[in-house]
Symmetry: C2
Subunit: 222 residues, 2 copies
């Protein structure tokens, strides 16, 4: 049984790693669509979201099979449950990329973002995509130190997000309320994407060490 | 074993129902704090959030114990996993109430909301608190029809949320960008709270019927 358990667990880890690749790509495309008012790319992200949902279902099925057939206990049990939680976070990351793409589509052919803040989103896009890519590596390498490094990336996103709000809240904001509302929600989508990436990495640390690092991640307030 | 399983499962359902009471109370207080700029009430919500987090941990421990000791399969296994997901949604609902309370605290002694939109929040508060209370009844009664009725409440929240955005996006919005940003985020907190309440109810339908109703709930776009 131990060997079958490890084979199945490796398969589950592979599936999670593949989901990381999917959500990294979704967020990369969604950000490019947002910054370039690229309708075709936005549509691609929107129509691919169901593949991420399917991947999550497949992960859950694999986890169920593992639990039902192997009936793991103690750390083995917690490991499988951590994988189920990670799959849920990854699906949510896909949803957040989808929201970014939908914002780009909704305002097309206009740009959603005024020039003044597009740099923040280019940067938040870069860091969040990198986080999803790092999460993939973390799952494949099971390297606890790289998992912890995602927290630094998350701090970077939080900083960008805070600065963005300073710009928004400035009395001189010249782009009107409707644009401010779009920018507010989009900022939150990136920030939540980063939170979920950290959560995935923490679950991996748990899967490797049997200990959950720090308290569970919550979004910062803005 | 079957009997022990059912006793433990009943305990788990009781714990989830108690969490519903906690998050309903948190959202009720947070909304009152928001509408009345009541700092003391806001502080109460903020300092009680860790109790909701603890309740979620206790639910997970109970679920782990159930899985480890009873090694359920098939529908029994899925039932326990549904409970773990429901506990996660409930913790998130507590976080969202916390965010509302923190917004009230941040702007104190000022009111966060202009008169023009406070009616929307009073109404969204009423419906979302009712949803959390109904989720409690659904868990205790295992009544599938009342579980499904939460979808209607969610539609009501989505409608209120959409109307709120119409007001915000109106060229005549006289309250400035900073207030619009607050209103945008607060609207989203209520909308997500409602989504999670529906998700909890769907998990209960699954626990009772063994079938997941419809597709998993995602937030509407604004």
């Amino acid at each position: 049984m131990r060997e079958a358990y490890h084979v199945q667990l490796d398969q589950l880890a592979d599936q999670l790693a593949d989901m990381c690749v999917q959500v990294a790509e979704a967020m990369e495309r969604a950000t490019t669509a947002l910054l370039g008012a690229d309708l075709q790319l936005a549509e691609q992200v929107i129509s691919s979201d169901n593949e991420i949902d399917d991947a999550r279902s497949a992960c859950e099925e694999q986890a169920y099979a593992l639990l039902a057939l192997q009936a793991p206990v103690a750390t083995d049990l917690r490991t499988v449950l951590a994988a189920i939680h990670a799959a849920e976070s990854l699906e949510r990351m896909g949803d957040l990329a989808l929201h970014v793409a939908k914002a780009a589509r909704r305002r097309h052919p206009q740009h959603v973002l005024p020039e003044q803040v597009s740099g923040y989103f280019a940067e938040m896009g870069k860091v969040t995509v990198r986080m999803a890519q790092k999460a993939e590596q973390v799952i494949r390498s099971k390297d606890v130190d790289s998992a912890r490094a995602l927290e630094d990336d998350d701090d970077e996103v939080d900083d960008l997000h805070r600065h963005l709000f300073t710009v928004l809240m400035d009395k001189e904001w010249p782009h009107g309320v409707a644009t401010a509302v779009d920018v507010t929600l989009l900022g939150r989508f990136y920030e939540r994407f980063a939170d979920h990436a950290v959560s995935v990495a923490r679950r991996v640390v748990f899967m490797v060490t049997g200990k959950m690092p720090g308290s569970d991640n919550d979004d910062v307030d803005v």
